[in-house]
């Protein structure tokens, strides 16, 4: 019924195709540039942004460093408030739990709030196999679902589609899922939103089971928080009789007060608003208001593996705002699908390989899907040093070493594809240790510079596919220094004494 990210090619191959898609490039450039300036303006309104950011990072770090304590605390609070807590070690288990819970209601249809966790577990496909139809109700998710497409952005999964494409999808597909698009639907965003309103209203009014994720879970109070814009979240969270929320274990914040930080950081970073139109908070169940039954499914699926890496664990601070995607030069050109998971962009490049324990060519390629320009770190509202983690993961790919996968320690072998890089680095280290050889080598390189190829031969070929070889100067810096400054400064005369 819908496509999945399984078996996606590694980033270089996928992006080689997507960067040639001129319509995709135009759509992404337009959308990301629109939001960039707005975000900057929304952030500039708060002169204590740096302090909020530091507090956000510290709250998340505190939670992560004592995650076992806060998980138990959360379970206790949710249970006391009338909710039922389930634990899922991996995606398959989460899907089994949700399928069983839906079956127990006797329903064959569910309405869904946009949720990254259930994208990650492939819940819709699992439900479909069990004969349960899941209706996505977020506008962008609806566009993706109707178009039999894959999400390409954390906040706006259909960012790769422009308004004309959305109109075509609505006209063609809506009738197959329910109320068809109105006659003569135009591509004005207001009309498209109206068409979605009419199409989904029937589903909301009749749905008995809602499925959601959550932006935050408060350990002390057992409160879950969903931040949204359209009202589809409110519909799914309040109208059905049964609510099932699938939430990653890293979404905890310790206290109610902590929300004062994140409810300022998140809207301004993601949609560039002072506040998003709707935020719903609920604690267990409430008599006479909202679902009578509430299930919380706590999802690990690689999060504890990520937690085990002391450098990489900062990725778990992520609040899924997508600001890093919107500023990333690589994302803007390659698009979200090239990242091969529901988490694209810079955060995806560090999250996907860690959640999956660097388990294959796609995961090994993602830490390289970056120019290390640092724009992602600068805009991150919880100060995740994405370049630091990228470099750390690159080292793990090249040199191998310990990672945690499915809770077990495994030792990665050095990647085969990087043998030439390792050899080059070893040669460089030797040369820098032997100044005479370095000097001789540099002179030889300078004299033969007209004969140098523009692309490297042999194993270096792939590297020079996308890079120009640096031109070798006629004279090395060391020789130039010796020639022009000889006898006039300190440190000259001794071999290799240039400082």
């Amino acid at each position: 019924m819908s496509r999945s990210f399984l078996g996606m090619p590694a980033f270089p191959r996928a992006s080689a195709a997507t960067t040639r898609d001129t319509r995709l490039r135009a759509n992404l450039t337009h959308a990301t540039h629109t939001i960039r300036d707005k975000r900057a303006a929304a952030v500039a309104e708060l002169d204590d942004w740096a302090q909020l950011r530091a507090a956000g990072a510290a709250i998340k770090d505190r939670t992560l460093r004592h995650l076992d304590h806060y998980l138990e605390r959360l379970e206790e609070s949710v249970t006391a408030a009338g909710g039922r807590v389930h634990w899922a070690a991996d995606a398959a288990e989460a899907n089994r739990i949700v399928t069983r819970l839906v079956r127990e209601t006797g329903e064959r249809e569910v309405v869904k709030v946009k949720s990254m966790a259930t994208q990650e577990t492939g819940l819709n496909e699992a439900l479909a196999q069990a004969g349960i139809r899941a209706y996505e109700t977020d506008l962008a998710e609806l566009i993706v679902q109707l178009g039999d497409d894959l999400p390409s952005h954390i906040l706006v999964p259909a960012i790769h589609r422009n308004r004309a494409e959305i109109r075509d999808i609505f006209r063609r597909e809506m009738g197959k899922w329910g109320r068809p698009a109105p006659e003569g639907l135009s591509d004005s965003p207001a009309e498209l939103a109206e068409a979605a309103r009419r199409h989904l209203r029937e589903k909301f009014l009749t749905a008995k089971v809602g499925i959601s994720g959550a932006n935050f879970m408060v350990a002390d109070t057992g409160t879950l928080v969903v931040v949204e814009s359209e009202g589809n979240g409110r519909m799914c969270l309040t109208l059905p009789e049964t609510l099932i929320s699938v939430v990653g274990i890293e979404k905890i914040v310790p206290s109610w007060q902590d929300l004062e930080v994140f409810l300022q950081l998140l809207p301004r970073s993601s949609t560039a608003e002072r506040m998003n139109p709707y935020t719903t908070t609920w604690t267990g169940t409430t008599d006479g208001d909202g679902p009578r039954t509430f299930h919380l499914v706590l999802l690990d699926n690689g999060r504890t593996d990520t937690l085990a890496d002391t450098v990489g664990r900062q990725a778990l601070r992520c609040i899924r705002c997508s600001a890093c995607l919107n500023v990333c030069p690589v994302y803007e050109r390659a698009g979200g699908h090239a990242y091969g998971s529901p988490y694209p962009g810079p955060i995806g490049a560090i999250l996907t390989p860690q959640l999956r324990g660097l388990a294959g060519p796609l995961e090994e390629s993602l830490p390289y899907a970056s120019s290390l320009c640092g724009a992602c770190y600068e805009v991150c509202p919880v100060a995740i040093d994405i370049p630091e983690v990228l470099v750390h993961l690159r080292e793990r790919v090249v040199q191998g070493g310990p990672v945690t996968r499915g809770g077990a320690r495994v030792v990665l072998k050095p990647a085969k594809g990087h043998a030439a890089e390792r050899a080059a680095m070893r040669a460089a280290a030797w040369a820098f240790d032997h100044p005479g050889a370095l000097r001789g080598g540099m002179r030889l390189a300078a004299r033969t510079r007209r004969l140098h190829p523009r692309r490297l031969p042999g194993p270096g070929r792939a590297w020079s596919d996308t890079r120009a070889l640096p031109a070798v100067p006629a004279e090395s810096f060391r020789d130039w220094w010796r020639r022009t400054r000889d006898g006039s400064g300190s440190g000259n005369g001794s071999t290799g004494g240039v400082t």
């Binding site: 076992d68 359209e230 506040m275």
Partner: protein
């Protein structure tokens, strides 16, 4: 071993580097951010609330206590509303000049019945000036969450200055986490088409906010 035990054991193994003596409240959280941004008189705070509500396309009205019934009557009439949902604890005088028929918020009522209603009138728990946000907590003058969601027209009355706070950090201590909360900042909207904001999706497409001056000065 249950999955609960598996996950908790994995977490504990992953955190082997955390010193034994470090407690869950030990790593310090710097809270040197501001409780409220800038200093304002109550009147300026109210202005800011009105400005930010309007910026996100809520329609803002102001009135004194004696004027409220007539204003609500006018707003409902202007919409052509024939029916209006009323929370159980709403001051009956508020709707005394309304031509629309009052529909009580009944627990056994269905969402479909609600869908046929034109408007809803509620109070709120508080309003946040810096973000232009109304917070509803299901109190007697606000009713269940669904009544401010399904009808297409919401009139929300804010008692000023008592219910107005400056900022998000000022709002949270005044709200009870155990109550289901709905934070509303303008009518429903989406940024899902080309990351451009469009107002009006599933929630009420028209949000009218009445700032009710309680001292009668408004």
């Amino acid at each position: 071993m249950s999955s609960r035990d598996v996950v908790l054991a994995r977490v504990r193994r992953a955190l082997a580097d955390v010193p034994r003596g470090e407690g869950p409240y030990d790593p310090p959280v710097p809270r040197d951010y501001q409780r409220v941004h800038g200093s304002r008189t109550p009147e300026e705070t109210l202005e800011l609330l009105a400005e930010n509500l309007a910026d996100y396309r809520a329609v803002v009205h102001r009135c004194g206590p004696g004027e409220l019934p007539a204003l609500i009557g006018r707003l409902l009439a202007a919409r052509g509303a024939r029916t209006v949902v009323v929370p159980p604890g709403l001051d009956p005088r508020w709707l005394s000049a309304a031509g629309a028929a009052a529909v009580p918020d009944r627990a056994e009522g269905t969402a479909r019945e609600l869908d046929a209603v034109d408007s809803v009138v509620t109070g709120c728990a508080l309003a946040i000036a810096e973000t232009g946000t109304l917070v509803l907590d299901g109190g007697p003058d606000q009713g269940r969450r669904r009544i401010t969601l399904v009808p297409d027209h919401h009139i929300c009355v804010v008692r000023v200055p008592a219910q107005v706070v400056g900022s998000v950090p000022e709002a949270l201590p005044r709200l009870a986490p155990e109550r289901p909360l709905t934070w509303i900042s303008g009518p429903s909207a989406t940024s899902d088409i080309e990351l451009d904001r469009v107002e009006g999706v599933h929630g009420p497409r028209t949000l009218e906010v009445v700032l009710l001056a309680e001292d009668g000065a408004g």
